[in-house]
Amino acid sequence: MPLDTSFVARKFKQIGTRPLRPDGLDKVTGRARYGADYNAPGQLIALVLRSPHPHAKIKKIDTSKAEKLPGVKAIITSADLPDLTNGDRGMRDMLENCMARKKVLYDGHAVAAVAAIDATTARKALKLIKVDYEILPHVTDVDEALKPSAPVIHDDIFTDGVEPKPAKPSNNNKRATFGHGDIEQGFKDADFIVERSFKTEQTHQGYIEPHACVANVNPDGQGELWVCTQGHFVYRNQCAALLGMDISRLRVTASEIGGGFGGKTHIWTEPLALALSRKANKPVKLTMTREDVFRASGPTSSTSIDMKIGAKKDGTITAAHGVLRYHGGAFPATWAEFGAMTAFACYDLKNVRSDSIEVIVNRPKTAAYRAPSAPMAAFAVESAIDELAHKIGMDAVDFRIKNAAKEGTKSSYGPVYGPIGIGATLEAAKNHPHMKAPLGKNQGRGMACGFWFNFGGQTCTDINVTPDGSVTVAVGTIDVGGSRASIGLMAAEELGLPYEQVRVVIADTSSLGHNDMTDGSRGTFSTGMATVAAARNCIKELCKRAAKMWDIPEDAVEWVDGMAKPAGSNAGNFPPLSIKEIAAAAGNTGGPIAGHNELVADGAGVSFATHICDIEVDPETGLSRVKRYTVIQDAGKAIHPTYVEGQYQGGAAQGIGWALNEEYIYGKDGRLQNAGFLDYRIPVCSDLPFIDTMILEIPNPNHPFGVRGVGETSIVPPLAAVANAMSNAAGVRMTHIPMSPPRVLKAIEALKKH
């Protein structure tokens, strides 16, 4: 019988408590093994040669001198990676991004790779590879790439979603529109209108662990890959496809992961390591340098957004229209669509429209970054809304409360909402002590809302009862921040066992069916659902065994508080059997006891948040410091509240860095100038205050415990919360992210002149 996933309100025994995570000890002692912490006997070290040009034809690659260098065991170019993608554009782009074929498309694009006996030899070998480039004109700005004068990067991209289909190729791969109602009439009905254009620069997920893997392909075609990844099943499927291997012949083991935030949901150098190993017939270890991570993994888009919002003088929004231009780097993607879908999601709007424009530029292939595309759209919308509220003379929070979406609202991106938390987070913000705290000189307070949908996806979980009655749960979703504890709590809750009796492990790809990645805030949600289902199947089996031991029918046994009990007095007068006792007898009742589940987790709940930010701005230098920050977010049900708080705080910190200082800086020559942590400035410990959190719980009706994914929403509001705070602190409306001191000072000086 399929699992009934509806939420059932109940008093939890384990869920909501805060036990210690099972991998904590290894991580505080340095024993935990991440991508670069594994070494295979006899392994070679691989390094990648990358293009210094943003756009160029590859005329010739001469590896002959490098091949002759003693200690070099294999060199590959695209010639060693034949195109087996058979018309699948997505896979073809992935292949070409891993290693350039006829052209290099961005500064840092891989052109060759070397495997040698040590790093010193590999470095020498790279220097000996001669590449002949024919330099082509480049474009790195999302607006410049749309101009007719811009160099067209792919001659086979014709804008999708435009009628009639364009005759000439361009850098605009797709356009789409979302919304409903009549915005023209809506703007006519407005008493006040705010119309602004916004720009956000490109950022990187900034995980501290560079990508690393050890690949081993045997002459019989069997392969092993040790890698840090958010999705080892997806990596397996994609690497196998690109290398022409049957999926089952490649076994991927996920290491502990040192941060991902979406950047490790895509393969970058893994196929190169596998190809080198296949060629050299030895294990190959490939670790990306920090510079390579910035130049050639998957940052998020830079954007250009036009926003127009109108409202009546009583505060009702009458129309909202956003035009969003995002790029996918050097390959076609659809990030602007996510921006268009999330932009107005917090509000109940009669007339709303968002237009997405997808662009291609000579920058690395973009990947997801925590609630991908939403932060930029929210920056534009929440800034405009703040300005509109100010124009009308209404309080920023009250204005939003008046227009907030609720259960039954038709969202701007289509679906009708079930029970949701935006109203609750706004009310909580309004009454939060942060709102009443006094402000000092040069300080200002701002707030903003944010939204992210969550994903379900394919999930497969195994529960095994060991001979001593303890339980192992094998899951296929990577633990990025403590989810092993949450999964353990859910299994323990369902089985009625103490948390300490449950051990959660992340299985390799040969041990479980396919699992989608840890992304889309789906880890705790989907794996939790599959774990509950597996636990229920396990309970069925445990009851069956108890029935056998008591020699009564199966349906006469029930599972209560972790024990098998006869169901009703007719079934017999047997004392309850514990899992330990049933497990001890398993050999006589049918063998090892397990519960298993595969499902596509449906009914993911959306998660809303409201943030409050206090900022202090030095009017003489444009320097700003966040003095106080509060995150209020709906988690549906916080399985392990401490880890939910951690997600809120981490996302907020990334958003603050994005708002104030993080950006990819390209020169006129199309080269990335700040490919390192020195000049790509993520927040340091002294930059931030404590980040207060408030967890609201409006249960997701589609999850047995009410869980909503929480990992992403908290990065969505900060850009606007910080900008709105800055507006109140220094009187300047910033429309260019990041709001670095030179930009802020310029705006302050311009204001003074008027």
Binding site: E620, T621, G622, L623, L660, N661, Q673, D679, V684
Partner: protein, 287 residues
């Protein structure tokens, strides 16, 4: 690459002088190893000076302080007398990199790296510090500001090592301060910086001043007009205004990934003014 760690300065000089390939001095290593990692330099020889006797000493004498070339940044703030006499110099050195970097980096390494944004240098120049250079032809003592000649280059000849910094004796009612502008609170290279060194008379009137700006020109700028603006004043608003204007006027910065010309020019004046106020208060002046 070869690694040598001589125990006396004469050997170190000889090794560097006779090396036919690329030779570098290794003190803290916090610039050298970064450049090696980036592939910017491939040394044939690295001479570690940390085992040379006296290189890691801070000595106070009647004529002032002598700071050895191998003294790590963190050791400067641990020296109470030095911190009291030259707080600006110490705070400059303690802003180089992180705590980890300060555990190794040296002021002389910072100086010889030749960056116009070096945190350790403006306050040394404002202090009229000198350095002792040891070379194949013997020792010479030169002013600190003579060492960097352009970004990344020094005046040192082949085989020469700087073995110590000499700070002059401190008159009463004197102090200094160093401020830098960075977008975060730590870890950034200075976008613009200012060091001010003041000596006051018993009435609190400035009778000697020196102002040095960093990251606004190819080398650290000594702004004579800014110092003139302060001399004879008690740091009244007009004097500070003149100081800031003189600093902004003297700037010749560039646009780069860390700041714009417009920004550096404006903020140089702001920082110089604020550093002057701090130095004045430290020297006993009342604002």
């Amino acid at each position: 690459m070869r690694y040598e760690a001589p125990d006396n300065i004469k050997s170190a000089v000889a090794m560097l002088a006779k090396e036919k390939g690329l030779a570098f001095v290794l003190a803290g290593g916090t610039d050298l190893l970064v450049k090696m990692k980036a592939g910017m330099i491939e040394p044939d020889l690295v001479v570690d000076i940390k085992k040379i006797k006296g290189m890691a000493d801070i000595k106070k004498s009647a004529t002032g302080f002598r700071i050895g070339a191998a003294v790590p940044g963190v050791a400067l703030s641990e020296n109470a007398a030095l911190s009291k006499a030259w707080p600006g110099i110490v705070e400059g050195a303690n802003l180089i990199g992180s705590k980890q970097v300060q555990g190794r980096c040296t002021m002389i390494g910072n100086l010889c790296n030749g960056s116009p944004a070096a945190d350790g240098v403006p306050a040394l120049i404002a202090a009229r510090a000198k350095v002792v250079v040891s070379g194949p032809k013997g020792k010479r003592t030169i002013a600190v500001e003579q060492v960097p000649v352009s970004p990344g280059r020094t005046c040192l000849k082949k085989g020469e090592i700087i073995e110590a910094i000499l700070l002059p004796k401190r008159p009463p009612r004197s102090s200094d301060a160093y401020l830098r502008f960075i977008p975060r609170t730590e870890m950034d290279i200075a976008v613009v910086s200012a060091a001010v060194n003041l000596v006051l008379d018993p009435k609190g009137v400035v009778n000697d001043a020196r102002v040095a700006l960093g990251a606004v020109a190819p080398t650290i700028l000594v702004v004579a007009d800014a110092a003139k603006a302060l001399i004879g004043s008690k740091l009244d608003a007009a004097a500070l205004e003149k100081l800031a204007a003189a600093c902004s006027a003297a700037c010749r910065p560039i646009d780069d990934k860390r700041g714009t010309i417009e920004f550096r020019t404006k903020v140089a004046g702001v920082l110089a003014r604020r550093a002057a106020e701090i130095a004045y208060r430290r020297a006993g002046g009342k604002l």
